[in-house]
Symmetry: C2
Subunit: 282 residues, 2 copies
Amino acid sequence: MNILEKITNELDTFSKSERKVAEVILSSPGTVIHASIAALAKQANISEPTVNRFCRRLDTKGYPDFKLHLAQSLANGTPYVNRHVDENDSAEEYTAKIFESTMANLELARKSLDTSTINRSVDLLTQANKISFFGLGASAVVAHDAQNKFFRFNVPVVYFDDILMQRMSAINSRQGDVVVVISHTGRTKSLVDVASLARENDATVIGITTAGTPLAKECNIVLSVEVAEDTDLYMPMASRIAQLTLIDCLATGFTLRRGTKFRDNLKKVKDSLRSSRFERKE
Amino acid sequence: MNILEKITNELDTFSKSERKVAEVILSSPGTVIHASIAALAKQANISEPTVNRFCRRLDTKGYPDFKLHLAQSLANGTPYVNRHVDENDSAEEYTAKIFESTMANLELARKSLDTSTINRSVDLLTQANKISFFGLGASAVVAHDAQNKFFRFNVPVVYFDDILMQRMSAINSRQGDVVVVISHTGRTKSLVDVASLARENDATVIGITTAGTPLAKECNIVLSVEVAEDTDLYMPMASRIAQLTLIDCLATGFTLRRGTKFRDNLKKVKDSLRSSRFERKE
DNA sequence: GTAAAATATGAAATAAATTTTCATATTTAC
DNA sequence: GTAAATATGAAAATTTATTTCATATTTTAC
């Protein structure tokens, strides 16, 4: 296991002094790997043997070995923690924090995703007669993006971010249609309704939402995307990025399923834009 | 750069003894990170100072520091690199690859971003009488998302993904208005036109695009977001995620600039949704 | 609440590992 | 072939980490 996570996990089992070390390490692991045991002890205001004991408690051979593990953890990209933006952060600070927590949450989302469900969803999407993407608010953006991707595949795709259109469209759906309903909270009443209407009309409903929510219960398949609880404070941020990346996976799965010839077609779609662009002079 | 690659690259510039060390390291780097300088020297049949000099030649502070770098390189078996999806990838494989390259590109984007430009953009946005977000295709999704964020701030915000509406809106702009034009390629003719129209009408134009492109040249401020060249193969993927994260930064900067009372307001906006949702039973 | 036991901590001593110094060997340039 | 430059290693010096042991703190048992 990643040693930084391990430290976080075992934080309560530490003694007072050990916690001090842990905090210094967690607050700037990148500095610690270049510090001597003496420097770290001083920074944490405890003695060197305590640092040493701390290292052994975490199943490492000693301080140098601990640093090795730490270095590896850092390399593994888990310095990306969900750090919160603070009142007095400079542009540099909040930018770093936002990018980092986005990355951290993508990592989280990836771990929580069930790839066999993705696979099943791709199955359904490739066989669909019509695909609909519905979302509201921030999730409308995700649905919008999904449309932008799937329409390239030359399948009938619709996208609505209007409750009434969604309802009408859902009522008109039939066997063989796939309806993708997107909602991070999974509690938006009208979307739950739409999902249920679509199912009543024999469409297959895929939910991109949190597991166990009212929306999830109405879906045939649930693609649940987990992000840290406290990330989306006043605005959806990490959740929609994770959803969009999931859309990328579905779209990619779709193109893979369709084979080589199909991808040539994608290139044609892309090339069709050429005349609307300025040439690249190189 | 990965230190193992570096060793391989510089193999011919090494002296006879140094090459011996290099070979031992390359043949079993995993063992070396747990070996002392004495053990390594013995295994390579050379003296300890030679190992030390070898480490410094590779721009590390000394042997322990070198081991740290080596440990990180090893951990980086599959770091967040831009690994490409392959014909025969399973759902599990392509999902992992897509998430990882998204993260890798966010990292890249973060490094390329100039935070002082972000700061300046936030300045302009907070002072704007009206904010417009324009984009087409995948960038329309980003503009859509930006609208979704900024309308919460109780400032006049418009978003168009229709060329004619964008033109009309640009022509109607005036001093004090901020127009944000989004295009990854920066070569979409109609958007370049829109940017130029907006400037002619005294609006301040912020471009979220690649530096040095025709669009960039028409803008007052360019927020350039760099992603790996070969990421967006047939569909925009990493580029739009990076742009969306940048939007998060701008929105966050905006709320910070406006102070505490303003953030209470955001909470009210969020709470206003409550009646449209199912209660959370906890 | 108190005493005994268990646990935690740090100062100093010890041990280990790394780096520097300097003398010697090897290579390179002419 | 010789002088200069470079490379190398033995030993000393230094830095760093670990162990030992005495003391302080916390927990447990009554």
